[in-house]
């Protein structure tokens, strides 16, 4: 459940029955999230905007072939990701990276408050955690982003990642464990090695 989920589902139903103003509301509810999500795959913002445009044009044109869904955001996310990656593949001649997860996902952080940054221990810790997050696989980063930023469920994330629900669940758990181990090592330096080993094997 994300905020507006029920509203989106109702609007989606109206859209399937032919209401384009319902689609314009769905667009407004989701366009900024789609843009934010899309920008994690590429630095080419124009490409992301083009894909959003193409996505909604396609929705209008194929309306009669679409079916009902109670997860509009998930549906749109899956579609926009597929479109962006398809465009990137087209220009770089890579293949099948959608299924293999062999694409780039740049998580991107907010800038650290310069006042807090002055605190050496604090900033060291943040940077350590951030580098741990950066070192996760693209799929892990994508899953955590969908989970922690948009609050999507395991099932919804699994669909976007082309995975079984159980696999996406363990993917996320492993990623969290890894970040946790960095935090723990900061607290208890003695057991540092132990946790790294633990993180590797879990």
């Amino acid at each position: 459940m994300y905020p507006n989920q029920n509203l989106d589902s109702m609007l989606w139903k109206d859209f399937l029955e032919g209401s384009e103003s319902a689609l314009s509301k769905i667009y407004l509810n989701n366009v900024n999230d789609l843009f934010a999500f899309g920008c994690k795959f590429t630095v080419d913002k124009a490409l992301v905007k083009d894909c959003i445009q193409e996505l909604f044009v396609t929705l209008i044109q194929t309306r009669t072939r679409l079916s009902e869904t109670n997860n509009v955001k998930g549906y749109l996310f899956t579609a926009i990701k597929r479109m962006i990656i398809r465009e990137m593949v087209r220009s770089s001649k890579l293949e099948n990276i959608l299924e293999s997860g062999d694409y780039r996902f740049e998580i991107g952080f907010e800038n650290i408050d310069p006042v807090e940054f002055e605190n050496d221990n604090y900033s060291k810790k943040i940077l350590a955690v951030r580098s741990a997050i950066e070192s996760l696989t693209s799929r892990q980063k994508e899953a955590l982003y969908l989970k922690f930023y948009f609050g999507l469920s395991h099932k919804e994330i699994a669909e976007i990642l082309h995975l079984e629900e159980q696999s996406s669940r363990s993917l996320i758990s492993r990623a969290i464990q890894k970040v946790r181990s960095v935090l723990k090592s900061d607290k208890k330096r003695i057991s540092k090695i132990l946790f790294v080993v633990f993180a590797r094997h879990s």
Binding site: M1, Y2, P3, N4, L7, E20, S21, S24, K25, Y27, L28, N29, N30, V31, N32, D33, F35, A36, C39, K45, K49, I52, Q53, F56, V57, I60, Q61, I107, G108, F109, E110, N111, D113, I126, V129, R130, I133, L144, Y145, K147, F148, Y149, F150, G151, S153, H154, R169, I172, S173, I176, Q177, V179, R180, L183
Partner: protein, 439 residues
């Protein structure tokens, strides 16, 4: 061992001691049941680690503050089970490290993409739905999810709608009336006035009548490019001065419950008092709500800061940082105070200012008090619709105080600035101006 409240002290009479013992037993039994119940309820959470908490969907919704039920549940949980505190705290700490950067579209971009969608989908259908083009109503105003949500939840009938028009030329001063008719504004300082019914619009002495049935639901839109300004009188008598490079969207007649307008850019408002119908200025960063008062709102998309300055009365400002992150913030201003919001960090503050400095633009004057040359130059660019390049970034931080008369030519104004700070200025071949260090 404590007693149940409301049970008298029986210890003086031995006959009652037996009864007392029974109460004790009942009490212990009750506590046991309660404990078992709690344990069962806590059940799966009793062995939870921070990772497990983070995997829990409602836990994330609590941190995102996107679900009232979840917030209530977990706040209660933390209070009830202090022994889980450490794991919960750790989960929160991990969560907080995921401080994602977030790309956002501007209102204009959101509008443009949707216009393109409409255009492309219609072209490919060979105009079969041509009627829809006029019937299709686009809610431009609610640029963000949180914003549109607000409207659906408050009242279905209160939708802000604007007739879609052929792509708008933002470089031409114009009024777009409900139904899509565009009326150009030719003078440099145009005047637009709506009568109380919203059916008559007077634009620089020309009167335009609107169809009463169009008046109600759809929005008017005024576009003022750089180098021009405009004064409007809305149907309720409220006066609005629109600064250069701004847009205002508003209905011909306001609904009885509230009066709402959307602003991109800067405007000064003189709102007619109406206790039963608050006046709300919506921008992409924050909403400013008033009953009746005089104030200035500056919300240029390319500025780093959103500002509102109160001259008299009272206003409240509510930020619009998506409800998802729960960063909404509400401040109430007193006269002579300014609210500033740093768009990137979301940090806002209120302080006392000389309101004259921020509102004199409507009289064609530009006051500044220790303002960066950078910011002053941005304002001049907008006002004169000319590019001014500051060649040396160090120059941009010169502080400028004083009064500039914008009725003068741009070169006169630059001369005045030159008299105060050590700069040289000149004009390039392409018509742009530049500012350099003096030799």
């Amino acid at each position: 061992m404590s007693y149940l409240p409301g049970i008298p002290n029986f210890q003086q009479k031995t006959a009652l001691q037996y009864k007392n013992f029974r109460y004790k037993t009942i009490y212990i039994f009750a506590m046991l049941v309660l404990w078992l119940y709690r344990l069962q309820k806590m059940g799966k959470y009793s062995t939870y680690t921070s990772t497990d908490f983070l995997n829990e969907e409602t836990f994330i919704r609590w941190r995102l503050k996107s679900d009232k039920e979840a917030v209530k549940f977990w706040e209660n949980f933390v209070k009830k089970y202090p022994d889980k505190q450490e794991e919960v705290n750790e989960a929160i700490e991990i969560f907080n490290h995921f401080n994602f950067a977030h790309e956002e579209l501007t209102l204009d971009e959101i509008f443009t993409i949707w216009n393109n969608v409409k255009h492309h989908s219609e072209k490919k259908r060979n105009g079969g739905f041509a009627i829809l083009k006029y019937a299709a109503i686009f809610i431009l105003v609610f640029a963000t999810g949180a914003l549109s949500y607000y409207f659906y939840s408050s009242s279905q009938s209160n939708e802000f709608t604007i007739a879609e028009t052929t792509p708008v030329n933002f470089n031409e001063a114009q009024v777009i009336l409900p139904g899509g008719k565009s009326v150009p504004l030719r003078s440099k300082d145009s005047e637009i006035r709506y009568d109380a019914t919203g059916e008559k619009v007077i634009i620089d002495n020309d009167t335009i009548s609107q169809q009463p049935n169009q008046v109600k639901s759809e929005m008017n839109r005024v576009i003022i490019p750089y180098g021009k300004s405009s004064q409007l009188t809305l149907s309720d008598g409220t006066k609005v001065w629109l600064n250069a490079g701004s847009q205002l969207m508003y209905p011909s007649v306001f609904s009885s419950k509230q009066r709402e307008v959307l602003l991109i850019g800067e405007a000064f408002f003189e709102v007619v008092k109406n206790e039963t119908s608050p006046f709300i200025v919506r921008t992409d960063q924050a909403d400013v709500e008033v009953l009746g008062t005089r104030f200035d709102v500056s919300a240029y998309p390319d500025d780093k800061i959103f500002q509102t300055v109160l001259v008299s009365g009272s206003v409240s400002v509510e930020t619009r940082k998506e409800g998802m992150l729960g960063r909404k913030d509400k401040k109430v201003l007193e006269p002579n105070q300014m609210y500033s919001l740093d768009k990137q960090s979301g940090v806002n503050y209120v302080h006392r200012v000389d309101v004259e400095i921020y509102t004199s633009w409507k009289e064609g004057m530009f006051n500044c008090d220790k303002q960066d040359l950078n910011r002053v130059v941005r304002k001049l660019e907008r006002y004169y619709n000319k590019k001014i390049h500051i060649k040396d970034p160090m120059l941009g931080s010169y502080k400028i105080s004083g009064k500039l008369d914008l009725k003068n030519d741009i070169s006169d104004v630059l001369d005045v600035i030159q008299a105060f700070v050590p700069i040289d200025w000149g004009k390039q071949k392409n018509g742009d101006y530049f500012i350099v260090k003096p030799n």
